[in-house]
């Protein structure tokens, strides 16, 4: 079900908001302020800038556009795309569509969970990967499929999926050193 019950926010989480440049959203606000149906593009834009929607940005959008906070929260939680928590650098979306399901997509998720040592929906400790499931990526002919960033990887097995992840990890390490 897409309608979600409100959960009581953890006080610690609100404090994390420091270190976010709230000014980055201004050009977007100027562009969309007076347009009809501007809420979703604004939230999408904010997520593109910050990787997720930080609470202070959320409140700023509400203040500047005149949308009610409750209505905004309703919209933001309705759509699967919006996140309120920071995510890893690479978002790994494992397709769980019909074609992938009959080709055993579950084993891909299990293998990745083991490689990354996280559960589905979470972010790895090194903040490099977030593991997600997605309904269908539209690459059914290459099932099972996963998407990392904008790149699609097809005809996977648990092993080959883990290999791709390890490869990205290595290149990231090289970049740092």
């Amino acid at each position: 079900m897409r309608v979600q019950r409100l959960t009581i926010q953890n006080k610690d989480k609100e404090k994390k908001a420091s270190g976010i440049d709230i000014e980055l959203i201004n050009p977007l606000l100027v562009r969309y302020k007076k347009k009809k149906g501007n809420l979703i593009p604004l939230l999408q834009g904010a997520q593109e800038i910050y990787g997720y929607i930080p609470e202070i940005v959320f409140r700023k959008i509400a203040k500047d556009t005149g949308h009610k906070l409750s209505a905004m929260y309703g919209v933001a939680t309705f759509y699967a795309q919006f996140r309120f928590e920071p995510v890893g650098k690479h978002i790994v979306k494992v397709c769980q569509g019909t074609a992938c399901h009959v080709q055993n997509a579950k084993s891909i998720t299990t293998a990745l969970e083991e490689t990354l040592k996280i559960k589905e929906g979470n972010t790895s400790k090194d903040k490099l990967f977030t593991l997600e499931s997605v309904a269908c990526l539209g690459c059914c002919s290459l099932a099972p499929v996963m998407m990392i960033g904008d790149k699609t990887h097809g005809k996977l097995s648990g092993k080959s999926a883990s290999k791709i992840i390890r490869q990205i990890k290595r290149t990231e390490k090289k970049k740092i050193s």
């Binding site: 079900m1 809420l39 019909t98 009959v102 080709q103 997605v134 269908c136 539209g138 059914c140 290459l142």
Partner: protein, 645 residues
Amino acid sequence: MITKKQYIIENLLKKPNNDFSKDEYIHKIKRKNVDKPVIFIGTGTCGLGAGAGKTYIAVKEYITKNKIEADIIKTGCIGLCSSEPILDIQLPNYNRISFEKATKDKVKQILNSIFFNKIPDNNFVLCQFENNNSEKIKWENVPNINEIPFFKPQQRIVLKNCGIVDPVSIEEYIASGGYTGYLEMIRTKNNSEVCEIVEQSGLRGRGGGGFLTGKKWKFALGTPAKQKYLICNADEGDPGAFMDRAVIEGDPHRLIEGMAIAAFAIGATKSYVYIRAEYPLAIKRLDIAIADAKNYGLIGKNIYNSNINFEIKVKTGAGAFVCGEETALINSIEGKRGMPRPRPPFPAVSGLFGKPTIINNVETLSNLPFIIKEGEEIFSKIGTKKSKGTKVFALSGKIEKTGLVEIPMGTTVREVIFDIAGGIPNNKKFKAVQIGGPSGGCITEVNLEIPIEYESLIEVGAMMGSGGLVVMDEDNCMVDVAKFFMNFIQRESCGKCIPCREGTRRMLEILEDITHKPLHNNQHEALRRFKGVTQLEKLGKIIKETSLCGLGQTAPNPVLSTIKWFRNEYEEHVFERKCSANVCTELRVFSIDVNKCTGCTICAKKCPTNAILGSRRKPHFIINDNCIACGTCEEVCKFDAIIIK
């Protein structure tokens, strides 16, 4: 010297009734013949997933290294996704030839021989594109594209250019006859005439419902309003369908022309394309195509002095399946939650921002340029009595050749699965084909001969839907498939109306009940489970009758259809507690082979529920009441001593 753009605008677009079949300049753009080699690489999302990006780099390296002057063109997907990456080469005076599975390591071998006018001696060759131009040299022993079983029965209207032309080149689209039909139409016809043509053609909505497109338009045309809207529904959420993505990636201008025609017919000046965020490449190519069309004056104000204004905006979806429903989509564009509205009022009367709005699917719109250019009669000759034209199907699952096929309506399911797509791989037995995604149903062996059209599919409990065909073999469990769809629908239900919100959840629970292992398996439990199955049918009926929108009204279909055709599998799960396809892993029964067990104790240590007992160096045994059938013991046993039934 005049530019390409000037030439096309002056000679093609501005002149009515222009016959340019003999125009040399246009032939050059169409690549009827080329003066230097052209290499085409299929770079749709499917091609890129199969490694087309690396092939592209390898080709580029090869031609720079060998100092060959050649053009490299990135095309969309031709439809044969299982053979990607596909690499085509057109040499001067030769027919275009196509190679399948051209991964980067094969590039050198293919190009080495092809540049010496030889065919590489291996089996990568797919086909050649025969041209009526007799001056060109044919490749020997290479089948023509129309002779290959995959392409032979197809009739490509929507996919005509996909995989053939450069999707981001508006010149190529116009040279192949695009936009001229549209311009001719706005010069000579009025709105109601166009509505009439489309109604007469018999075109029905390709997104699922199958309502006559022209008839729907007339409602909007007949509603007086200052502003009307056209929305293109590209929120292709059905798992298992990907034709909209392929059309937008492979031939975005066809969609834009189709939208322009539809907008003219209903008198709309503003339009939206609502597209899934999961399709980044399609969004990118659509943006480029819209900018090009604007540049050529085909979108914008006062198009070619006709006083007609038309603009397109792209809206990215935010990940909600229900937004494929018309009224939910409208809410989403308005910036609200994507929840459906009660109808009436229908969107054609009061839709986006309260104005008359027509929502058409990508495939429906992409049929329009053909209908307008060739005439409604030619279109209505294709297909069956009630279902006209062609339909694109996305083939996936346990099938030899996966990809997109466009077939005339009335083709049988058997032809599609066995003749076109080559049947089931690995000598497995065909079990069923799921058609229409979460709103559709299954077609089994007995119904393989039915022709594909809207009515006949509904008769057997399935539905055209958006056209995803997922083939299943004997290794798939139908109860599991039903559970998969129920899980999907339950998650995606918007929560507005009770039958869908609560009903789908209960249905899922019943299905989980019969696929999970109970701790105590007495007769009473079996009775409860059996009652569950009968309740499934009743619940399904109620949800169908009382839900608000199309999502809820069709949600029970996958379950009802699998119960109808595979009742024995449900009974097997309920009474015998077994899944013969071995998919429902929790129903497996584990035991230990006393002759093989060495008593190493590893299984007892790893068992999460302490269901394995035994002393060291002596055969162990499993207490079935405690076993949760996780399979860990089988994974860790080094002596193959675990028996699974």
